[in-house]
Symmetry: C2
Subunit: 289 residues, 2 copies
């Protein structure tokens, strides 16, 4: 750790006991940004927001095995601890929690937090068990860090809704704040998985954001037929030879029920496989930006 | 409430917001006793233990609908709020949480806490969904009350183990303490459901404790064959005409795996229907009393 030139103020907790001890000393309120590391501007925007709204900021880095399925990229998930720590230090993070997998999941662990309904479709349908892993690890991290506020990105729109629902249903004593998606200058939503893209795929990946802009344009021009908007998005994406559509969804912004017709607003979300990675993106139509 | 002659110090929170507000003012540490009301000496022993070990004591009274099955006695579950409050006041309880069912379970609530494995057998097998209701309400109450320690009775042995497992697996920042079963002078384990027993049934109900004493006697005499001990218990109970055995179990004290042979220790638990109610009782052989 000596080579990282950490400031005196940033502390690293590598066990739950260390985190609890540091937590007792942190001035309230405490903002918390849970991550799986390999940080990009999207994560850092959450840390900055936490920094602006709280006296103390905690971030966690933990690649959570229980949210990856057997065919997912758990082993290959990109990691760069040194760079992550330097970036978090630059944002004046107070404490980084980097727990050991064996402490987070002892061999006999058998308790889960589940959110029903909201997790049935979209990523929940595409990745069985994924959200059970997400809600369980986030509940555990909330219990360890005991934050006043916690910050998540709109890029993972369903995840953000699911975590808000979990916190509300289970009366967790904290606020779950969802922050706007951060994009590359050319519009690609930032994601740790973008590192998997070769230059050709990187260019093709722009079609996700382009198709969402098309949906926004059609909506702004008065189109309310969700089927028609999805069809036009699909046509645009299929023109991109390296793309493989997983799903395109236009759904109610709070229940995620698929819509035939857009009334007040809608969450337009899609997953497209470009080369190896499944890329996610979304836009909210007719709601607060 | 004016007729209850509550002291100035005991406060009643009938909403989550009121509880959180009162919680902020309570001196630490805070002991918590969650109950479904209709209190007896068993509950009060938990309150006394909480009183002895903490600066502040919170109790809750909430008949939790999600832990009752469609054929269970939710509607008929005995209630006596006035008596409960007077008893809790006499034990110097600081705050009573009596939340509204509609606030605890809004119509769209869809999040659950589940403990797998430990909940498969015994009461989990007899009452499908029961433990999911228990762990969910207890997690919610823990999040609302944020206690330092929480107290449960050994009479519901599986429930106590399941809640300890939940708290450990999900890193809840509190201690779950299990207290000895309190019995009537003639040995019947105290239970709110004992009120269902008519005088004949009340006499028959003694057979639960008698059969556990038989198991203890056999064990003390060197018997280690779990099947034989269960058979002798069964013979004794079947001699009682009003009894209907639901199950007799001799299981590992931490995993609840059924044992053929007792090595270090065992949880002997049984459920017998006497008239209307299912009565539970248990004893730990070879372990700490």
């Amino acid at each position: 750790m000596g080579q990282l030139h950490l400031s005196n103020t940033m502390q690293i907790a590598s066990s739950i006991a260390e985190m609890r001890e540091l937590r007792r000393q942190l001035p309230e309120p405490v903002g918390f940004v849970p991550t799986m590391g390999f940080l990009h501007e999207g994560h850092l925007s959450l840390v900055r927001r936490a920094r602006a709204e709280n006296k103390s900021v905690v971030a966690s880095i933990f690649v959570n095995p229980t949210q990856f399925g057997p065919n997912d990229d758990f082993e290959a998930y990109p990691r760069d601890e040194e760079r992550d720590l330097a970036q978090l230090e630059a944002e004046n993070t107070d404490v980084i929690l980097m727990p050991q997998p064996s402490e987070m999941y002892p061999v006999d662990a058998s308790s889960w937090v589940v959110v029903e309904g909201l997790t049935d479709g979209l990523e929940g349908a595409a990745r069985p068990g994924h959200f059970r892993g997400v809600t369980t690890i986030v509940a555990k991290l909330f219990n360890i860090v005991e934050p006043t506020r916690s910050y998540f990105g709109q890029k993972d729109a369903q995840q953000a809704l699911v975590i808000q629902k979990m916190a509300k249903d289970l009366n967790m004593n904290l606020e779950v704040i969802v922050c706007p998606t951060v994009r590359e200058p050319d519009g690609l939503a930032m994601s740790s998985r973008n590192v998997y893209l070769n230059p050709d795929e990187r260019r093709s990946a722009l079609v996700l954001n382009e198709s969402l802009k098309l949906a926004q344009q059609l909506f702004d021009d008065g189109e309310r037929d969700a089927g028609l908007i999805k069809r036009k998005m699909r046509e645009m994406i299929e023109r991109e030879p390296k793309s493989e559509i997983d799903y395109i969804s236009i759904a109610d912004t709070s229940t995620l029920a698929e819509l035939d017709r857009i009334e007040d607003g809608a969450l337009v979300s899609l997953v497209v496989k470009i080369g190896k990675p499944r890329l996610l993106d979304n836009v909210i139509l007719g709601g607060p930006a």
